[in-house]
């Protein structure tokens, strides 16, 4: 009998597949957890392939060090998803496996018995009563939910009317239309069928709200929570529960798409348009797109929910690639908030950045005891510190951007690289002591409003005010209980939150998004504004939204006032089609950075020349175009100067085969001192 061979995938960058010798009689499955010798280390990995064509004679291979036989193997769909992600995003397999295996488990020196890990609760779920090791004997109890409105009932019927197996649906529901209730019913159906539901939310701050609702509806169900704030123990226990299929419903942020779910029956992606589903650092991926892939592989329904769908998915639903179910009215019967534009001129008098009408509306709302939200998407006190005498402006030493003055701890901060310094006492150029600030951030708005409305409880919600999930949850509770009446927030507050007492939303300034050069800037701004407007008047009285702008006549604002996202999306699609921009073309981005711009540009120019020379090699590559090498808008970031090159094609397959071949060529080039480059598939910003 010949020796058997296992090809093992280890969670690391670079080369990550290695062959090992397997004793003749030992059972071996794909997805099995094993620890293998690698150099001087012993590493936890998974069996990727059984008996592959070995690269070296089996007798020269090392044996597998430990078989984790009491651990069930990872589900094959997840393994295929890792392979797909690696292939699609052109990044090593091992980096995607790293999302799956908990670091604590990888670090252990010796095999960990499954039983040792599984005692105790799963993650940090809300009730703390359900344990992962519980074997399900009785069906999941579902407490009755509210009666569906006629519109909801119709939408729900459409949602479930799709084919069995893979069924991608876009649930296009205006803010407050009761998408969550539809989700809960879909989950109930899935759990009743003895299968698992995966619920993705765009950010950690939304996890507690969703979890509370799911736990309340399904007492006794085993609910797991997956996000970056889990400690090592929680993460490890959750993983153990997941590989055993002992979690009925998993709620998590983007990386939860890499959770083992052997009985997967449903994937929900809430706020599918949110850019947080994309990861760019490390191994790149889009959790939303992988959700569609996984749904197809596992043959389950995938519901993408949003009031403001991404243009890509909107286009898919327009051309029938995915089904679209619409919820056009609010579940409470309360109409959508009215949106009013308030023109801002340079001369107009303003108090705390608010025009008189906005100021009056704020006063009246607070006097009635209702909540008001001021939306300003700029953290810090003021975005500019300057010297009026000589014109000096405080810029980041490492990035080509201005530093932001934070009054809370009296420091200047770079919002791009995190660099911070003490506030300079005098102008470093001319010595003038009378330095001034310009512009308005959330801290300044908070200070100015506090002076006028301290009795009403002023709360600022931005990344500086709540750096952990716990801090955010605490703030959210204060707001939900309506202890604080005046909220000041960045986009952090705009997403998916349900604040019952909120009746007025003032958008203090939004014009920057309208003027930005990025392709997706207007799309993002519309999503943001409709989302933040959607916080108003969710219960009881209809809400009111005031938007301050210098450009009230811009067609963009007319569509905003009409709450007409469909019209907006279709207008934008027509424009994108005319300009041959995504989703009508597929793009990839080659980005390079170095300590000097010319090094990066030189590399990209050479890469472009090589790429163009390759285009003739295959017929389908004729559809591929390489655009010009350009420096990034923010050229210097954290001390690195950056440039990029867009590659696009109307044919995705052609683009991908080209990118693979091109990347191989670039990898063969000698390393250039201090130069880094990466290839990004489906970039969001170009």
């Amino acid at each position: 009998m010949s020796e058997r061979v296992a090809r093992v995938l280890v969670p690391q960058a670079g080369k990550c597949l290695f062959d090992y010798r397997v004793p003749d009689m030992h059972p071996m499955y794909r997805g099995q957890l094993v620890r293998v010798p690698l150099g001087r280390r012993r590493v936890l990995g998974v069996v990727w392939a059984c008996d592959p064509e070995p690269e070296v004679p089996p007798e020269r291979l090392k044996p597998i060090a430990e078989w984790w036989d009491d651990w069930p193997p990872l589900d094959p769909v997840l393994l295929d998803q890792i392979a797909f992600a690696s292939d699609y995003y052109l990044n090593p397999l091992g980096e995607y496996l790293a999302f799956v295996l908990p670091p604590a488990l990888r670090r252990r020196k010796r095999q960990v018995a499954l039983a040792a890990v599984t005692d105790g609760a799963v993650g940090e779920h809300a009730t703390g009563e359900n344990t992962a090791s519980q074997r399900r004997s009785e069906p999941v109890v579902t407490t009755p939910g509210p009666r569906l409105t006629a519109a909801q009932a119709r939408a729900y019927a459409q949602l479930t009317a799709g084919p069995t197996g893979f069924d991608p649906v876009l649930l296009f529901g205006v803010t407050g239309s009761g998408k969550t209730e539809c989700y809960l019913r879909l989950i109930a159906e899935t759990l009743a069928a003895g299968r698992q539901a995966l619920v993705l939310v765009p950010e950690i701050g939304l996890v507690p709200q969703t979890t509370t609702r799911v736990v309340a509806r399904f007492p006794g169900a085993r609910i797991g929570v997956w996000h970056s704030d889990l400690n090592a123990r929680e993460r490890q226990r959750l993983f153990a529960a997941l590989v055993q299929g002992a979690v009925d419903c998993l709620i998590g942020t983007r990386s939860a798409i890499f959770a083992p779910m052997p009985r997967l029956g449903l994937i929900l992606v809430d706020e599918e348009h949110d850019a947080s589903y994309r990861q760019f650092e490390g191994a790149p991926y889009s959790a939303r797109d992988l959700a569609l892939w996984r749904g197809k592989a596992a043959q389950v329904r995938v519901v993408l929910g949003s009031a403001t769908p991404s243009l890509e998915r909107w286009w898919d639903s327009e051309r029938g690639r995915i089904r679209r179910v619409t919820l056009a009215e609010r579940a409470t019967g309360v109409p959508l908030p009215t949106i009013e534009l308030l023109p801002v001129t340079r001369e107009a008098p303003r108090t705390a950045g608010l025009v008189p009408k906005a100021w009056e509306a704020l006063k009246e709302t607070l006097a009635r005891g209702e909540q008001a939200l001021l939306f300003l998407n700029r953290r810090g006190f003021a975005p500019t510190l300057y010297c009026a005498h000589c014109g000096w402006v405080q810029e980041c030493r490492r990035c080509s951007v201005r530093m932001v003055y934070h009054r809370v701890d009296s420091r200047m901060r770079c919002h791009h690289c995190g660099w911070s310094i003490a506030v300079p006492e005098v102008c470093p150029t001319c010595g003038n002591g009378g330095l001034s600030v310009a512009g308005q951030g959330t801290q300044r708005l908070e200070a100015e409003l506090h002076a006028a409305f301290a009795d009403h409880g002023v709360v600022r919600i931005d990344r500086d005010a709540c750096q952990t999930a716990a801090a955010f949850a605490a703030l959210r509770k204060t707001v939900a209980r309506a202890d604080a009446k005046l909220l000041i927030g960045t986009q952090m507050i705009a997403k998916g939150h349900d604040f019952p007492a909120l009746s007025l939303v003032i958008v203090v300034g939004a014009d920057a998004g309208l003027l930005a050069a990025e392709t997706r800037a207007t799309e993002r701004l519309m999503q943001q504004l409709l989302q933040v407007a959607g916080r108003a008047g969710r219960r009881g009285q209809p809400g009111r939204v005031l938007v301050q702008t210098r450009y009230p006549d811009h067609p963009f604002f007319q569509q905003l006032v009409a709450h007409d996202y469909a019209a907006f999306a279709n207008t934008l699609l027509t424009e994108r089609k005319r300009l041959a921009l995504p989703p009508f073309v597929h793009q990839a981005l080659l980005r390079a950075d170095a300590s000097r711009l010319d090094v990066a540009v030189e590399f990209l120019a050479a890469a472009k020349a090589t790429g163009e020379a390759m285009l003739g090699q295959q017929a389908q590559w004729r559809a591929v175009r390489l655009l010009d090498v350009v420096p990034l808008r923010i050229v210097r970031l954290a001390g690195r100067e950056r440039a990029q090159l867009v590659v696009e094609s109307s044919n995705r397959a052609a683009l991908h085969t080209f990118l693979r071949a091109w990347r191989e060529r670039l990898l063969q080039w000698p390393q250039r001192q201090g130069l880094r480059w990466r290839l990004e598939v489906d970039p969001l910003d170009t």
Binding site: H389, G391, Y405, V423, E425, N432, G434, L435
Partner: protein, 106 residues
């Protein structure tokens, strides 16, 4: 260092609210009114002008505490009000309030 020194008696005719720079330095800015008789080509002539002044730190606190219309003698230097602008501003580095003289006059 080039010479740039000025000593001027003036009334405080306008003043902004005291503000602080991000580094915590007090800044007071306002307008002064100077009237005097000066000697030129052997004759005495009248001088009457209004100007901008700025004071920082302790001097700013002093300027901010003055009653409106107070007569002071200030010392300092001139600098441009804005980068590239032709308007000047007197930066006060020392100031003396003629409180006793005002009382005497009453």
């Amino acid at each position: 260092m080039g010479a740039n020194r000025c000593r001027l008696t003036f009334d405080v005719t306008a003043r902004d609210a005291l503000r602080y720079t991000p580094a915590g330095l007090a800044v007071s800015e306002g307008e002064g009114w100077h009237r005097s008789m000066q000697c030129e080509v052997g004759r005495t002539r009248e001088v009457d002008f209004r100007f901008h002044w700025v004071a920082m730190g302790d001097v700013a606190t002093v300027m901010d505490a003055l009653p409106m219309g107070a007569e002071v003698t200030g010392e300092g230097f001139f600098a441009a009000r804005r980068k590239g602008g032709r308007q000047l501003q007197l930066h006060l580095t020392a100031v003396q309030w003629h409180q006793d003289e005002e009382r005497k006059a009453q």
